[in-house]
């Protein structure tokens, strides 16, 4: 399981960075989404995966005596997913607006110079 996740994280990060380096705005956004998902899985992996173990201390004990599942990474990922969902939906709308204004998907066309605001 861990090895599979490690490969998945590597794949997500590398493809995310590759897509971000392209000239297309849509690919930039896709790259950011992939990177974000890679980071989420990284949190999951770094939080020590313990299969089938409870995250709760038994009633008759005061500390954990055996392996336990850490619930914190899950809550972190949940928060990160919600935040990145908001950011991504904003970015998609922004892309659409920019596309309507510039009629182009190329990042190099975004350099209208020196119009006073």
């Amino acid at each position: 399981m861990e090895y599979l996740l490690i490969f998945l994280i590597g794949l997500l990060y590398s493809s995310g960075i590759y897509l971000m380096l392209r000239k297309s705005m849509v690919k930039l956004l896709l790259g950011l989404i992939l990177l974000g998902n890679g980071a989420n899985i990284l949190i999951f992996l770094m939080g020590d995966i313990a299969k089938g173990q409870p995250p709760i201390i038994p009633r008759d004990a005061s500390i954990f005596t055996q392996m336990y599942a850490d619930p914190v990474p899950q809550s972190l990922i949940l928060t990160a997913i919600v935040i990145s969902f908001g950011l991504q939906s904003f970015a998609i709308i922004l892309l659409k607006r920019v596309y309507q204004m510039t009629k182009s998907d190329n990042l190099d066309t975004l350099n209208t110079h020196e119009i006073d605001i």
Partner: protein, 500 residues
């Protein structure tokens, strides 16, 4: 000392923002509520500062869960100072934007979003939990995205794409760093991290993680290889918004960097070299970039970058004198940079342009206003006894002590370049005769007297604050010395948070 008071500046902005959403279509009501909210936040933050100053460190454990298990809010002198500065800058921008921001922006919730931004900034300064810091960062950046694009035209949208992409990348890098740090230590509380990181035996892993944090915060604070988004986006939004961004947002990145690199990771020789090298290059590229710009707002955007170099350099030196100087510089810089963009806004209102080729003759027409702006420019350059001068003594002194002569040279050259750029701008904008232009529009004189006053008052207020920072330097020095002492010796912070 536990005190629930320290959450109040955050709540003040949250409540104001919610009230503003209910007053969606009533612009005049929104103006009043927003000003009231900023004023309340200033009062509360001053109260918080005085209480923190007396008690040392205030903490609040969310939901009563003791650190390191719950989310902790901490107000030490460093946080409290920043909360006060945010409130001062926020009030000034709030007054300025009641007149300067267009109706279209106000109708789409400009005031509400700006209060959410202020809430996020206060939260970022007051939290004592690294994942909570990430959440506050996200609140700040999503609000800043909306502010930048609100009722925007083509240039704003183009700037926003770069700004949004780089900031989302920075957040992802920050999140990656948090993930690895959690894997290494199993905790997120900054005080607890400080103890656990020191115990890790594989120092290389700690170095790599700390550099990931450096990249994440470095993008936000516009450090040398990571600053390119700033000059291509900061000149696009209206002046009031640019003032908030230029004065507060990059400084939030510097604040986070100073927190992590003094509390969680104590820089080793390698990290110090990286910080100093980045600082030198930031100073140079910022100064060089500002040289050939013709729009004064672009020029000031590059000056923001240049002056970030002073702070990162001081952090890299990591001596008591240097850290105290950096804190002093931050206090001075937040006020001056906010004011700089507000002043640019007034110039733009008068002349309808920010391009130095189309500006001129301001001194002849508005001598009093020009002298007011001269105070801001001289403070930024650091002509003694104004505010920019004092922190530079500390920075020069400690770079001499640490034998970082290249950094010293970079500091001096960057100061000279700032002087040159400001002198050039002054002669072009204020002394040169006004070039003949077919269309002559002066929006400023068309405004009624009351609205003109609302535009001038925040600039005067901030200029007075920076005069106070310069002339009452010994008081600011006492504050920054105390902050630096707590940064070098973190024991006090740890005791207060972990209740030992």
């Amino acid at each position: 000392m536990t005190d629930n008071l320290l959450i109040l500046p955050i709540f003040a902005h949250l409540l104001t923002a919610i009230l503003l959403i209910f007053a969606w279509s009533h612009i005049n009501l929104q103006r009043v509520i927003s000003l009231f909210g900023h004023f309340m936040a200033l009062v509360l933050s001053l109260h918080l500062f005085s209480k923190t100053w007396k008690a040392g460190i205030l903490t609040m454990q969310a939901g009563g869960w003791k650190a390191p298990f719950g989310i902790t809010f901490v107000s030490d002198t460093f946080s409290a100072t920043f909360v006060v500065l945010t409130a001062i800058a926020g009030l000034a921008v709030g007054i300025f934007s009641t007149v300067s921001v267009t109706k279209a922006r106000m109708q789409f919730g400009y005031f509400a979003i700006s209060h959410f931004l202020m809430m996020g900034l206060n939260g970022a300064f007051l939290t004592g939990d690294i994942f909570n810091l990430y959440v506050w960062f996200e609140i700040v950046i999503i609000s800043s995205f909306v502010l930048m694009t609100l009722a925007g035209k083509k240039p704003q949208m183009e700037g926003a794409i770069k700004y949004v992409a780089m900031n989302m990348l920075a957040s992802t890098v920050f999140l990656t760093a948090i993930a690895i740090l959690y894997g290494l230590t199993g905790t997120l509380n900054m005080a607890d991290l400080s103890l656990k990181v020191a115990q890790i035996e594989k120092k290389e892993l700690v170095s790599v993680t700390s550099l990931l944090f450096f990249v994440g915060f470095g993008i936000k604070s516009a450090v040398f290889p990571l600053y390119f988004w700033l000059p291509s986006s900061y000149h696009t939004p209206p002046s009031a918004i640019a003032a908030t961004f230029g004065g507060l947002l990059t400084k939030m990145g510097v604040y986070a960097m100073m927190r992590t690199f003094t509390l969680v990771f104590v820089p080793d020789a390698f990290t110090q070299h990286v910080l100093i090298a980045c600082a030198i290059l930031t100073l140079f590229t910022g100064a060089m970039g500002a040289l050939n710009k013709t729009s004064i707002r672009r020029m000031f955007s590059y000056l923001i970058i240049c002056h970030i170099g002073f702070m990162i350099g001081g952090l890299g030196l990591h001596t008591h004198v240097a850290l105290a100087a950096v804190v002093f510089y931050l206090i001075h810089d937040i006020i001056v940079k906010t004011n700089l963009f507000l002043a640019t806004g007034i110039i733009h209102k008068i002349r309808g342009s920010t391009d130095i080729r189309r500006l001129g003759g301001l001194y002849e027409e508005y001598p009093k206003l020009s002298l007011l702006m001269a105070i801001i420019f001289f403070s930024m350059v650091g002509i003694p006894p104004l505010s920019g001068f004092w922190p530079k003594i500390g920075l020069f002194q400690s770079s001499l002590d640490q034998r970082s002569y290249i950094l010293l040279a970079a500091f001096i050259l960057a100061s000279f370049f700032t002087l040159y750029i400001i002198a050039k701008m002054w002669s072009e904008v204020f002394w040169k005769d006004l070039p003949k232009r077919p269309e002559e529009t002066n929006e400023f004189t068309e405004l009624p007297f009351f609205k003109q006053t609302l535009l001038i008052v925040p600039v005067v207020g901030l200029a007075l604050v920076s005069l106070y920072i310069g002339l009452g330097a010994e008081n600011i020095m006492i504050i920054s010395n105390r902050i630096a002492t707590n940064m070098i010796d973190t024991g006090y912070y740890l005791d207060a948070v972990l209740n030992k």
